[in-house]
Amino acid sequence: MDKFKLPKLAIAGAIFYAVVQLLILTGVLNGYFVVIINRSLIFVILACTLNLINGITGQFSLGHMGFAAVGAYVSGTITTILCKLNPHAFGDNMIFLAAIIIGGIGAAIVGFLIGFPSLRLKGDYLAIVTLGFGEIIRTILNNIAYVGGPRGLLGIPKFSNFTVIFLFTFFTMVLLRNLVQSSHGRAMLSIRENELASELAGVDTTKYKVLGFVVGAFFAGIAGGLLAHLLQIAHPTQYGFYASSILLIMVYAGGMGSLTGSMIAAFSLTFLTEGLRVGIDWLRDSVGIPIGTEWTMVIYALLLIFIMLFKTEGFMGMRESKILIIEEKRV
């Protein structure tokens, strides 16, 4: 090692964690804000994983929340069943961790099953097929009485807290960053840039397209599990096409191909949604203007159209913040 490389991401993460935790402990941030921060972190994972598939590998998945749904339901089912049987605190945490990981694995398997046949389709058709698969997942979940059917999976124990969610998000970002800035990641990027040239440079494009799906699905499943254990419910409507569309808006707003952008967008849009909701409620209750929270979605729809018409590259384009870039020798 020639010189000491600063673990920038670790330091940034530690600072973030310490600051937030301090604010929580001193009571500056109450439970309400903590929930928003937790949701933001979960959406960071979701947005970054979608970015891995759409922005890094250049594919087009429209059913991404379907993977999160698999993770949510699998982990939620495991914890609700097992925790009723084993009420010891230590055992519960291990069960939770295992359930989340198993949820991720389940989602990864689904990702493989969907990705493998679909990835020879291009552009529009791939989009529609992934949309179709996402809807199939939702329909199936809506109809399995055992996990609650249309009422959803209720009574999931609340294992998610800021520390747990932060750690999962942090490790996801580290692993995703490592993947993207490795030889494998460059193979995936080359597929986005020019698939034919990539194939002719010796890259097994099918393998890497599927890999993008599987890795993306795995972490999305983990995010779904975390969400289910935060809200204590998993419901089919949370994971339909519109939820996937919100993710799409986040990734485009942040910049297709920029993990940093997805992080920023996830936080910004989650906070923005809350802010708009509060604002609209105030306008309706205090000022008397008859508007509902659907206007938030109208604004997002306009945002998406605006981005596509005027600033397709989003906030960051394809650039990454220095914090996320692993330094390399350049001689």
Binding site: F60, P117, S118, L121, G123, D124, Y125, A127, I128, V129, L131, G132, F133, E135, I136, T139, I140, N142, N143, L196, F241, Y242, S245, L248, Y252, P290, I291, G292, E294, W295, M297, V298, Y300, A301, L302, L304, I305, M308, L309, T312
Partner: protein, 302 residues
Amino acid sequence: MGSIFSFQQIVNGLQLGAIYALIALGYTMVYGIVRLINFAHGDFFMVGAYAAYGAFYLFNFFLPQGGGMAFVVLILAMLGGGAVALLSNQFAYKPLRYKPRLSSLVTAIGVSMLLEYLFSATPFIGPSPRGFPELMKKHMFSIGSAQVSNYVMIDLTVAAVLMIGLTLLIQKTPMGKAMRAVSQDKDAAKLMGIDVEKVISFTFLIGGSFAGAAGLLAGLTYPRIGPYMGILPGLKAFIAAVLGGIGNVPGAVLGAFIMGIAETCATAYNSLLGEGIAFVILIVVLLLRPNGILGEKTADKI
């Protein structure tokens, strides 16, 4: 098992298929001419339904019930669907005409969301579904073993008339010829002196108005309308167009009727299957025969 493929189911399926056909035609024409999957197309259907609803309550005082009123309402439904289609093309799709196709696709998603949530958020239109007025008296009569209402005849007739009109338009008129030319080769058509943008606008107008007509028929037949009513029918009609061969006009009609019958019979068997059959068809088609039943294989020159 016996009641799944009964004549009653076939009749119901054809009725549903007629509505899907009108929507699917719009999808397939737009795809044929600009290679865009217009996600918002199902929402043109919704706008048409609301336009019909509005027209009814507007004209209720002036016009007597029955055929004449229904005709006016139909025209307004078609105008509503056509207008929103034209506007979408003008402001959202045209600027992206020469950019990567994925941009247009994502923009279409945005337009779709915009229409749905706008209608949902506007106080007078509101998020709750509404009952659709009974534009004409409903009579039931029997054909063989099936109970058939006059609505079925209306749906099929309106659909048939519009489809025949479209066929005549495409085959016999100069605009129809221009449409065919642009869908085969946009640049060559331009070089031949065809105003490509005008043709594209016209195609959106026709496609949107057909969707609007379908909206009226749906409101009549399944009398609840709501801001999100276009999502599933739109998706299913799109799948029908893919089944028949996207870009292929007769294919869209064929696919739509198959879809209508398949969905009706599947729902009779099992409601889960009924919900999911459309997506199963989609995946089977895209993985086994992406060009659809009547579609042709096109090779890309590298």
